[in-house]
Assembly symmetry: C3
Homo-oligomer: 384 residues x 3
């Protein structure tokens, strides 16, 4: 969301010009949300622009439409959701609190109409059906509507050479929020700096996938009941997995965290994350003994070994993928309160017989993605 205020032109433009449109959008926002338009700017320093009046009233959440107290609502601290760097402990806690409320939204309850009249555009430059359905379900569960572009790469305009910026300027004219998946790192940030409406990054190539990182941390909190003092084992492909890297990054925001890395040699966690954890005082160790780690951790976060990373070295792939399997033997040494997580899809790195164990948290984790996305859509569109 770009919040530059354009100089208004003479009367004839008042209805159709993009600035006026933005003002229209913000006017509506402002009616409910007494904040200064100019008070937040996207960028490195945006966190410093956080509003001090943070006493938003959560109890209003579900009665939002019918109660006059809605007018006391506050703007969300972020204008867009682009990268994990935007989060600190406080904002994570805030988002999780709303996600918890979202678990209680029922059909035809007032909460289920919080986003009535709002339109979300899903602009996906590469397919990701799981992520797309999760966002679209979230929007519709809150009464909002969706414009779908499942294959924006073939967007006729993009194919003809239109810039991402021009596409965004067109799409924002048709929608109130843009959820974008792109194959290029940094694309979401470019979109956000162009768009007048909020942009959510649903994954940009090797870059970020912040809502996945959020739902992972949220799931740990929901399943274990704490984040400070948590012991997390990251297992599998730690070199290429965007997911585990983001998770390690976010866990560093909490106290007394211990991280175990368990991976085949060819896909070990890279030094940048290790150095980062060390610099933040997070304890970590590498281990080749999955059973021992499993017996100690609160969370065993398994990942898929990605064949496509091995090129023609199928032998290395086969060796790597068979090395650390989570099966009933692993479950047997895990603590009672511990859980197994996985970003999905899984192949055979978790055996199917694990599914029935209550500690298998991965499908609950997927469902948590829905609540996190409901919370974010609500916060970005109508505030607290």
């Amino acid at each position: 969301m770009r919040l530059t205020i354009h100089p208004p032109r003479a009367g004839i433009l008042s209805g159709s010009s993009p600035p006026a449109t933005v003002l229209g959008w913000n006017m509506q926002a402002t009616r409910h949300q007494p904040f200064s338009l100019a008070s937040t700017v996207f960028g490195v320093s945006r966190q410093s622009g956080r509003l001090s009046m943070r006493s938003r009233i959560h109890s209003q959440l579900l009665g939002i439409q019918n109660t006059p107290s809605f007018s006391a609502g506050k703007k969300f601290q972020l204008d867009d959701l682009i990268e994990a760097q935007q989060f600190d402990r406080e904002i994570l806690a805030d988002i999780f609190e709303v996600a918890r409320e979202m678990e209680k939204v029922e059909k035809n309850s007032p909460g289920s109409q919080v986003l009535k009249g709002y339109l979300m555009a899903t602009l996906f430059y590469e397919p990701s059906t799981r992520t797309r359905l999760s966002f679209e379900s979230a929007m519709k569960r809150l009464g909002g509507e969706v414009l779908t572009t499942e294959n924006a790469r073939e967007f006729s305009s993009a194919a003809k050479g239109e810039t991402l910026e021009d596409t965004i300027r067109t799409v924002e004219g048709y929608s109130d929020i843009i959820v974008m998946r792109h194959f290029e790192s940094g694309a979401a940030k470019r979109a956000a700096s162009t768009a007048e409406v909020p942009v959510i990054n649903a994954g940009d190539g090797p870059g970020q996938h912040p809502t996945q990182a959020l739902l992972d941390v949220y799931t740990i909190d929901r399943e274990i009941g704490k984040l400070d003092g948590i012991k997390v084992a990251l297992v599998g492909d730690l070199a290429n997995g965007r997911t585990v890297r983001s998770l390690a990054y976010l866990l560093a925001k909490y106290q007394d965290v211990k991280i175990y890395f368990v991976s085949p040699d060819v896909v070990k966690m890279k030094d940048d994350i290790k150095d980062y954890l060390t610099s933040k005082g997070v304890e970590w160790e590498e281990s080749a003994d999955l059973m021992e780690v499993a017996s100690k951790c609160d969370v065993l976060y398994q990942t898929r070994i990605q064949r496509e990373r091995f090129g023609e070295r199928i032998d290395l792939y086969e060796e790597a993928r068979g090395k650390y399997i989570v099966d009933h033997d692993v479950l047997n040494v895990m603590q009672n309160h511990a859980v197994v997580m996985h970003p999905l899809p899984r192949l055979d790195e978790i055996t199917v017989d694990v599914d029935a164990d209550p500690r298998a948290a991965y499908f609950r984790q997927a469902k948590n993605g829905l609540y996190i996305r409901m919370a974010l859509l609500k916060l970005l569109l109508v505030g607290w």
Copy 2:
């Protein structure tokens, strides 16, 4: 829909776990539908699990939202719709009765909001625009919402090797009912035994397409006014047509039915269906004389000769497709009350000049698919 009750875990899971989700879903169902959760199980014996309290009140259908009597609603006998074997005369009559009500649902009438707040996922592993649009229209005509996956085969997860079961577990977290089209026979049954939400089979490869079978029988009932004593001619490709095979199967449930098979030699009706009809006491005969059959039947059900079945034998295809054409000459010998049906799409096996005759029922038949699907969605989601 799988109705196993998972052992609830400790409090922290109560919101996000799949069991709790199911309970949430069923709680809502139960609030309106006083039935035992454990009373129905999918499988061969599911028909025997039918509830005795069948005195649901049809007159409530359209006033369902506003009247307290809604709380007296009853659960539909089926949890999923997978195969024609699930139907008997009684359940067919029940579904048809609701479909008739659906013909009266008008814009902004209370009936048009019966499924407000419900989300249907269309999970299509092969394209079938006609069937997809019919289901999506049905859902939206009743106030429900839709998540569309037009090309689930390229579902990024499936492409990466995820099992159908895992995909279903994810998608059911985002929706209240799954309509699935698959290229593999038996896929719908596998999905239903995994999913906690209802599954409707929208065609699984060479297997079943039960809603097509339903709409065919419904159309005969609507057009001719009876099913017992009906005379139906099945014309065209009887060897490969899933449609005509299912129709023959369902017609066997009625009294005094007579079936004529009229087809080129290379695509004759197979013995299994003939034997089945004989075993059920259904009279049938094969004939090469379309005109004579046309003069006697109540329903002339024409089908397309499918070129793809003939491989390189284009000569055989050309011979077969030209053999039995329904044109004005055929119409001229048909009885006044008789009708021509066709599952569509048609090529030239029915000439275009037939369309204007009131006995051309095929476009009405397509429209009936809408009413049948509205009825099924309503019954599976909110019961009678």
Copy 3:
């Protein structure tokens, strides 16, 4: 929309037959719109069928649902929107007046529910994401719902050889209005003459794209405040651009219009349009001097040189595309009230630094497409 009344058949058909469906649709229309069903027929002479009772009441527009005065609404003069030839000054003014109202439709205002309960099918035989999103946004902004077919060319039925007419007969059974994009000139007209529901042409190959033409003229009116006496420069590919040809055609309906053609030699405006303008008394001239034209015109309508038109003559393409660029130098000579328009997508025929100038009207123009389409959907579905 075909308005032939089929002879109703005996009672059993009253619900499911296409004629009855149409009657159902029209009955609803008629309830609010006291017009004779037989009074309008699509075709060359349709303009002569215009209703004399044109005193529709615009002030009712947004209160349409709640006020009894809605019942005084009038039918829109057109049944379908197929080609620019359907427009005259009066109907253009009427549509623009409704589009202006549409600019004021806000979330959850009564106006935003004008099309609640209505279903639009987008039947796109070739991709055009921009146009599709614009129509779908328009429908949803008015409370309507959408069935999407992004790739109707692979519509399983079409692939199997089904005629366009049969596809239309099926799709109209599922929806209340069809928006069609096709690769064949004349396809929209064929669809309209088959369908009982309104059809909007969203571009048919080299043929027409009437909503683009409408939004262009609307934008000129909104930006400059007049159409009579307007001076418009058409720049770029004038030989192949459907857009500029339609625009020239429509501008001829106004008084004292002056048109400048500025284009590379290889893509000059063709004689048919020049002759047409001359026959209508419209002044036009060709010029090779963009700066001089820019200094005199009210509207500078730039277009993209389409590479695909040049085949292997890349040298000619490169020469043509670099010839007339709109940049800051051009802006500097333009009048203060003048604007730059472009149908988008643009490549580098308008430099990015022009975007910030208030005279850059192309993104407002795209947004106007939304208002025009909202107006048309409203008019075709519920009338004035």
